[in-house]
């Protein structure tokens, strides 16, 4: 091979224009590096399942005041958590002024939001390359062991000093670099999501929000037919993002398809009134890595780093899915680490390990740690059935005016509990696990 052929085409190749990839590319271009951002979709965001709540603090650090400029749908001012049984529901509704601060949480539609982020990267000088699917990593033996030196797509090869794998869940690049093996089924969840369009005034009336305020509902219990996971319902400007996240192993165990569970969810008497008259404008399903810190594999190898969901960075507490903010957090850490490695002219695994250090110091790993026990906590089946029944039982007895004298709430709870299949020991154990996990 001639010396010329091994000359890198770019300083950095970023694969995947999701939040992780676009922000990494943006920050590296800002540092003055030549960066190409490769995305298999015809346009960034085109292939990404739309809708979600973005916890915005970290993005605000990258783009101060982003909520004013970026295509955000609504600021979330109400978080509603609902336990469902077949015919009743118990909700905790948290509406707090502090939540109104726009950078806390906003809803976004990915088709617009991802496109916006990629545009910012392009403006900063990143060479955006849509419509290209990376097929393979180019690897060569270096003095410090095997080194990733570029990528191949179709017949073409591109070389760079560093490749960033930002290719999302089940990262093909991370796996082919040997950084991750196929995740076990109990670390994967299936997300089914739809966007349902409704006039904005209807949304504001149904969800009791005004202006650009919005609500995020998390729903557990009967809506998933007892399968481990939960449902969500988020308000966008003139649409709703609605979906379920289901543990893959449990789904298989129950012999159900995600689509079946989703249909059941949409038709549930508690959900249906919110959706009535709406038109489904998008539908899709997608895997979610939900293993938390356990899934965070090695994120660095010679010539390559892994960011975002490709690195397993998601938190699924059962009530919320977080991934975009962690993806952006890892992008910030990666851009710093790569910048330092390039400056030190050491892009081996050792040089790039600066990224891992920044990641460990960031909120990303701290939050993963906080939620470390969430995955195994969520594996407890009774979270999805019996607790909803219990809560509903209690509230039924409180609110049902059947002529019998009102009982003190504790008595009500104890009686409902007696009817419930739960044993006290389970509740104490789950409660303890839950407190520690959440």
């Amino acid at each position: 091979m001639t010396a010329e052929a091994t000359e890198p085409d770019f300083d950095v190749i970023v694969v995947g224009a999701g939040p992780a990839g676009s922000v990494t590319a943006y920050l590296l271009a800002q540092q003055g590096h030549s960066v190409v951002l490769i995305e298999r979709g015809e346009a960034p965001g085109a292939k990404n399942l739309s809708g979600g709540v973005l916890y915005g603090r970290v993005l605000d650090e990258v783009f101060p005041g982003f909520a004013e400029e970026a295509p955000v749908e609504r600021r979330i001012t109400r978080h509603v958590t609902t336990f469902l049984t077949g015919d009743s529901s118990v909700s905790v509704d948290y509406a707090g002024r502090p939540l109104a601060e726009p950078v806390n949480a906003v809803t976004v539609l990915r088709a617009k939001f991802d496109a916006w982020l990629a545009e910012r990267a392009e403006e900063a000088g990143v060479f955006l390359m849509p419509g290209v699917r990376v097929d393979e990593l180019l690897r060569e033996e270096g003095p410090a062991g095997p080194q990733v030196v570029g990528v191949r797509a179709g017949d073409d090869e591109l070389r760079a000093r560093v490749v960033v794998a930002a290719d999302g869940v089940n990262s093909f690049l991370a796996r082919s670099a040997g950084l991750r093996s196929k995740p076990p089924e109990h670390h994967l969840a299936v997300g089914v999501k739809a966007v349902i369009s409704l006039p904005r005034t209807v949304i504001e009336d149904r969800f009791a929000v005004t202006g650009d305020e919005g609500a995020a509902h998390a729903i557990v219990g009967d809506c998933t037919l007892g399968i481990g996971g939960g449902g969500f319902l988020y308000t966008n400007t003139d649409s709703l993002s609605v979906g379920v996240v289901l543990r893959l192993d449990d789904l298989l165990k129950h012999g159900r398809t995600a689509a079946e569970v989703f249909d059941h969810y949409l038709a549930h008497p508690v959900l249906a009134p919110y959706l009535r008259g709406g038109e489904m404008v998008e539908y899709g399903s997608h895997l979610v890595a939900e293993g938390g810190l356990e899934m965070l594999g090695s994120v660095v190898t010679g010539g390559m780093v892994v960011v975002g969901e490709a690195a397993g960075l998601t938190i699924n507490s059962g009530l919320t899915v977080r991934g975009m903010d962690l993806a952006i957090g890892s992008a910030v850490a990666a851009a710093r680490g790569i910048g330092e490695a390039i400056a030190a002219d050491d892009v081996t695994a050792t040089g790039l390990s600066a990224y891992r250090r920044h990641l460990d110091d960031s909120f990303v790993v701290k939050d993963l740690r906080t939620y470390e026990r969430a995955p195994s906590f969520l594996e407890r089946d009774r979270m999805y059935g019996a607790y909803g029944e219990l809560a509903a039982g209690i509230f039924h007895d409180v609110f049902a005016m059947d002529g019998t004298p009102r009982k003190h709430l504790v008595t009500v709870a104890r009686e409902a509990f007696k009817r419930s299949p739960l044993r006290l020991r389970d509740v104490i154990s789950d409660g303890w696990a839950g407190v520690r996990a959440l």
Partner: protein, 258 residues
């Protein structure tokens, strides 16, 4: 031979949201090079390579048609350079207006031997713009072109018409619209896209083009959502084919469809 390829940067109406009033919201539909236009790019490239010529991409429309993304999408598919007329005034322009602006741009490009176009655009889908363009230019315009080769002084054009395949000897200049399956277009690779960024792009100013004013304007009096598009389906599970078949035949009998 100097070949201009007229192509459209357009959204797929499949992804539009249509209100019950018939109002169309295209904001979810990502624009792209219109589905069949890459066929024209490919035909043009092959003809230019065979005759030692140049291929110039040409597109007109509203401001959103000219972005770094749209430029690369076109230029990575075998064009030598690009000419764009992007003006807010052309946002929802009708096909004749588009054709008139295209004609002005073709004249501005100068010495054009051939304009190639796609079969029909993904959004308007009338297959009319190239033929109106031929009318404005006063050139021969042929649709349904499945093959084109250069012959001394002109072109030999094969057309796929309802009555059969027709071969026509066509002097230049002319406008030809390709069939959807005339050739299989290339898939742009990374090198093509990198190369695309280095190719020249000329932005023509609509005001400077001296385009005659329209002879009529369109006024939308009412919109509606067509009936028959959405139906509520009774779905049978085909995992038992015989069972599903029996159920379906029963249901069709009951509905009087058999």
């Amino acid at each position: 031979m100097k070949i201009v390829v007229a192509y459209k940067w357009a959204p797929n109406p499949q992804d539009a949201v249509v209100a019950t009033t018939g109002e169309v919201d295209l904001s979810r539909a990502k624009p792209a090079v219109s589905e069949y236009d890459p066929v024209a790019f490919e035909l043009a490239r092959r003809l230019a390579d065979a005759t030692g010529g140049e291929v110039v991409g040409l597109t007109v429309g509203g401001p959103s048609i000219d972005t770094p993304l749209s430029r690369k999408a076109a230029l990575s598919r075998g064009l030598d350079r690009l000419v764009v007329v992007a003006d807010a005034e052309l946002e929802d322009a009708d096909g004749t207006r588009i054709a008139t602006v295209l004609a002005a741009a073709v004249r501005a490009i100068g010495d054009v031997d051939l304009v190639l176009a796609g079969d029909s655009s993904i959004d308007v889908a009338q297959g009319q713009v190239p033929l109106t363009l031929a009318g404005v230019l006063g050139w021969l315009g042929l649709a349904a072109v499945s093959a084109v080769t250069a012959a001394d002084g002109g072109l030999v054009v094969e057309r796929s018409l309802p009555g059969g395949t027709t071969v026509v000897a066509v002097p230049t200049p002319a406008v030809l619209a390709a069939t959807a399956d005339a050739v299989v277009p290339r898939v742009a690779g990374m090198k093509d896209i990198l190369g695309a960024a280095k190719k020249p792009v000329e932005v023509l100013d609509l005001a400077a083009l001296d385009v005659p004013a329209p002879g009529a304007t369109l006024a939308t009096l009412a919109t509606a959502k067509p009936a028959g598009g959405e139906r509520t389906a009774t779905i049978f599970d085909g995992s038992s084919p015989a069972g599903a078949a029996a159920q379906l035949v029963g249901a069709l009998r009951q509905a009087g469809a058999l």
